[in-house]
């Protein structure tokens, strides 16, 4: 399965097993979504379970909160994460706080899916990685899968979860494990073992990281598209790095991170989002606090630059295997 097919499959199973799961957003009903992640849901489950909404992100999330509080489990799509901002007040001031401010009287068990990240020549409005805008907010969980198997298991967990979950889908990974070499032929998911997705219902607990490559020289903390770019960089510079795919940023699998950095004594953090106040800053702080005496070198960060996401200069902005390789070498020399 591709990641798109896996996400679609998760929707199917969630809607089959729980009548309270409803799916809606812009173009998600009849058309099945601009990335086709909800294709077939409306014809299978009917228009009251999966439907199109007006182009209004605040309305999508605001209505979903009311529905969630009234016993449904909405799983809504924001067409691109870049379009999320009109809904941000609803997410931050409302969804994230219903349980807290009502002392459990009202809750908002909803999932908000949105494609994130670059690599598709989407310019500044189709390429952003706003995960830190969510991880900063108390009351939200933030999840980001990197392959079809995880996408299905994590999405089913997110829908089952009794708290609001932001589900970020790296859009460059929808059709294959992109490793950052944009000038080479595209690798399809069919060539990757994690595209082998079981047809049955399964979940992956939120807050568990996955070690994608075991190693002893340096720990790479990353997520989303950058998992494959980091793996390519590691292979190309022949450093025995341990690459950790965080999968879930909140809750965070701190135990796996600590265990790895205590073993390797070195750490490189990689993400697509801008550098300053990015989630990488949180990772660096946690690693220095918990692994200070194990560290042999300063922690390096490879991220997007602190600029809007450019169009023609996409591959200058996008953290390349080369940039990650340089950071790995620098850390090893430190």
């Amino acid at each position: 399965m591709t990641m798109i097919e896996a996400i679609r499959d998760a929707h199917m199973l969630a809607m089959e097993s729980d009548d309270s799961v409803v799916v809606f957003g812009e173009d998600v009903g009849f058309f099945g979504g601009v990335f086709r992640c909800t294709q077939g849901l409306q014809s299978r489950f009917g228009p009251t379970r999966c439907f199109d909404t007006p182009v209004n992100e605040a309305a999508i999330v605001g209505a979903a909160i009311g529905m969630a509080a009234n016993g449904m489990r909405p799983c809504v799509e924001i067409q691109f994460a870049d379009y999320m901002y009109p809904a941000y007040d609803q997410i931050v001031s409302e969804a994230a706080r219903l349980r807290y401010r009502s002392a459990g009287d009202f809750t908002a068990p909803l999932t908000i899916r949105m494609p994130v990240g670059g690599g598709i020549f989407g310019g500044q409005t189709h390429s952003q990685s706003p995960e830190a805008l969510f991880t900063q907010v108390a009351g939200l969980k933030t999840v980001i899968p990197s392959n079809p198997y995880d996408a299905k298991g994590l999405l089913l967990s997110a829908i089952e979860d009794d708290d609001p979950v932001i589900f970020l889908e790296p859009k460059r990974l929808y059709n294959g494990p992109f490793d950052g070499h944009h000038d080479r032929p595209v690798t399809p998911w069919s060539a990757h073992e994690l595209s082998d997705v079981p047809s049955e219902y399964y979940t992956i607990p939120l807050g568990s990281a996955a070690i994608r490559r075991a190693g002893s020289a340096v720990t790479v903390l990353t997520y989303g598209t950058m998992v494959y770019v980091a793996l390519a960089a590691v292979a190309e510079c022949a450093i025995d790095a341990e690459v950790i795919d965080l999968r879930s940023l909140v809750p965070l699998d701190l135990e796996t991170i600590i265990k790895s950095v205590e073993k390797t004594g070195r750490c490189v953090v990689v993400h697509e989002a801008t550098l300053t106040s990015g989630f990488g800053a949180e990772l660096c702080a946690l690693v220095q606090k918990h692994c200070f005496y194990a560290l042999e070198a300063p922690i390096e960060r490879v991220t997007g630059y602190d600029t809007p996401y450019p169009h023609a200069q996409e591959w200058t902005y996008f953290p390349s295997p080369e940039r990650i390789g340089l950071a790995l070498q620098q850390t090893m020399a430190g």
């Binding site: 009251t48 009234n70 609803q90 002392a103 009202f106 701190l254």
Partner: protein, 421 residues
């Protein structure tokens, strides 16, 4: 090219410079209060359509003012509801409890027993009358000036006060600003404090009721000021597109802190006409007329419950008190404005009606006033035994780490340990 440039130059010479029309609030300190441009229909003259009538056929209801009680206290016209005396006395009592509750809690704030309070003086009829037209399993998404919804719904005053005092019995465990209650059992959605956000959630709640095939309905509430937010328009759109079983209520109390409703209304004749662009039945109602409130609320609730779709209602009233305990309205509006308000006081008007209909006497009223004062005084005494913000038992500091998520996650457990809690 030369000709073109010349033409441009000539145009510029004759054009009048643009000017910006900065909207101004209508009446400021020193001005004489003036409500003469407000459309006030005579009581009883506005038509009452069938609930099945199309929105297009009742456009006039958005620019008139539905009223039932005349100046003598008689209930007149097609909107006069069938309502028994016991219910009217109950309504009167509930409004009087709200007013006394507000008076005592405002004083309690001045006595530093809490940090903040918002009165609803003058607006009691809207939430009281509306609540009486709803069922217990219906849901309200209230604004912060609707304590009457809880009081009319039978929620204990002691618990409201405990929330205001953030004491040991505060159902919200000290987390919310005073007055931002929550009670699912009383059909009162957790209050946000951000304005307008919940107008939209109400539509979602109503959509869920429809998806589930239940027969409960939803009331969304917003103010004249907060109706400027995008969420207002988004909610109107969603309600219209999905024909949600929701009543969209706009309480026009004339003032958004210091900004008058005319600034937000812009060039629209009334707030109610905003509903026409969304194809919604849109009504404008005297919010200080308990009978009109009850009648129109019942009409709109019936529409929603019969799956006939949403209704938009502008309730016209006046914010008699300050915006909040932190506000002094004498800085921005004439002190005499409340007395000049043409729609009177809702409690006085219902009392006059009861007396005019022979069901009530001044003596009975005085007796009720005494009982109401005693009821609220006793509730306050009980609540203060449970503590106030400044003294007595309060919620545990440990409470701040709970209910952020369904279970306390590892990172919050760690922070709680580090805080020594």
């Amino acid at each position: 090219m030369g000709v073109f440039l010349k033409m441009l130059t000539n145009e510029a010479e004759v054009a009048t410079p643009l000017t910006l029309a900065v909207p101004a609030s209508t009446c400021r300190p020193g001005d004489t209060p003036d409500f003469s441009d407000m459309v006030i229909s005579e009581p009883g003259v506005v038509r009452r359509p069938e609930v099945t009538e199309s929105a297009q056929d009742m456009h006039e209801l958005a620019t008139e003012l539905i009223r039932v009680l005349d100046d003598k206290g008689n209930a007149v016209g097609p909107w006069a509801p069938v309502i028994d005396t016991a219910m009217l006395v109950k309504g009167l009592t509930s409004m009087m409890v709200t007013r006394e509750f507000d008076r005592r809690m405002f004083l309690a704030q001045r006595q530093a027993k809490t940090s903040f309070f918002m009165q609803s003086t003058g607006e009691e009829a809207i939430s009281t009358g509306f609540r009486f037209a709803m069922r217990d399993d219906d849901m309200n998404f209230p604004t912060y000036r609707q304590q009457s919804l809880l009081i009319a719904g039978g929620y204990p005053l002691e618990l409201m006060m405990s929330q205001i005092y953030s004491n040991s019995h505060d159902p919200l465990r000290g987390r919310q600003l005073p007055g931002l209650y929550s009670s699912k059992d009383t059909g009162f959605f957790t209050l946000s404090g951000n304005v307008a956000t919940q107008f939209l959630q109400a539509v979602g709640w109503a959509m869920a009721s429809a998806i589930k095939g239940s027969d409960s309905v939803t009331a969304a509430w917003i103010g004249d000021g907060s109706s400027a937010e995008s969420d207002f328009f988004s909610a109107m759109l969603m309600a219209s597109s999905f024909q949600a079983p929701v009543i969209l209520n706009l309480i026009n109390n004339q003032w958004a802190i210091s900004t008058s409703q005319s600034v937000v209304r812009g060039q629209a004749a009334t707030f109610a006409v905003r509903g026409h662009g969304f194809g919604l039945p849109s009504l404008r109602v005297d919010g200080n007329d308990f009978l009109a409130v009850y009648a129109v609320a019942s009409w709109a609730v019936e529409r929603a419950r019969r799956n006939l779709g949403p209704t938009f209602i502008e309730w016209v009233t006046y914010r008699v008190g300050a915006h909040s305990s932190s506000d002094d309205p004498s800085a921005y509006r004439p002190k005499s404005e409340a007395a000049a308000w043409p729609l009177g006081d809702p409690i006085e008007r219902l009392k006059r009606h009861l007396i005019a209909s022979g069901a009530w006497t001044e003596d009975q009223h005085a007796d009720l006033e005494g009982k109401v004062k005693e009821q609220v005084r006793l509730a306050q005494a009980v609540a203060e035994e449970w503590g106030t913000l400044k003294s007595g038992p309060g919620p545990s500091p440990r409470d701040i780490f709970e209910d952020v998520y369904a279970d306390v996650p590892e990172h919050l457990q760690r922070q709680r340990r580090e805080a020594g809690l």
